[in-house]
Amino acid sequence: MQSIFDIAGSAMQAQSIRLNVTASNLANANSVAGTAEQAYKSRQPVFAAILKDEIGGVRSMGIVESQRPPEMRFEPGHPMADEQGYIYASNVDTVEEMANMMSASRSYQTNVELLNTTRQLMLQTLKMGQ
């Protein structure tokens, strides 16, 4: 039963990474840059199951950047505009990130509940036969 704490803990860790990345994406949703390469690219964590003794938690294998092209805006008056007068906005999809945030926080809550239930079960097991 103790390994449930590891499993739920790993899931909470993974979901908080996801929440962190989402926060970074949302914070940079309106960032602009002078070139397409410098524009902020939306980041997403990649989850993978930890397979140890058939049962295991989850971990974040790494963070990938979205390959969607950045939004080009014609703003010649902007201080960061290039020779053609374009600025490059981030490719973050705000609606998608909001949905991501809700999903991550729900998953986090579920795992906290899991921990609480398991803790109660273990405490009751300790009291067995008393």
Binding site: M1, S3, A11, F47, A48, A49, I55, T110, T125, Q130
Partner: protein, 141 residues
């Protein structure tokens, strides 16, 4: 008098419930992992493997009869699980397909987790009351 007989199926049920809690926790933890396949314990098969049928012990466990032994000649070799009760773990049939190959239905798993923990508590209660009655018998109250 055999203490195992007094407690009956409940000790094995408790172990199975603990294992199932772990499996469902793994399923919930991996509810966002691409290509993860949800798993669960086949309860009837596990009970049969433990040698139980219609609430009574039928004797030799089927798993025990079928289990072959494996020799290990190196410290890195895997050994087979020697415990008499081996849970029969199977993949869950998904209700609907998902694009990332994940078959975890988070709400259904949560419901199963709740159900499983109630049943775990029920087994605990059964064992507790059996132990209580043994102690009362010994005291002669």
């Amino acid at each position: 008098m055999n203490i195992d007989k007094l407690i009956g199926v409940h000790s094995e049920a408790l172990r199975m419930r603990a294992q199932r809690t772990k499996l469902i926790a793994t399923n919930i933890a991996n509810s966002d992992t691409p290509n993860y396949k949800a798993r669960d314990i086949a309860f009837a098969d596990t009970l049969k493997d433990a040698g139980w049928h219609n609430g009574s012990k039928t004797g030799v466990s089927q798993a025990g009869q079928l289990q072959a032994t494996m020799n290990t000649t190196h410290k890195n070799h895997m050994t087979m699980n020697s415990s008499s009760t081996k849970e029969v773990v199977m993949y869950r049939q998904p209700n609907h397909a998902s694009l990332d190959g994940n078959t975890v239905d988070k709400d259904a798993e949560q419901a199963r987790f709740a159900e499983n923990s109630v049943r775990y508590q029920a087994s605990l209660e059964f064992i507790g009351s059996r132990i209580g009655s043994i102690i009362r018998t010994l005291r002669g109250e």
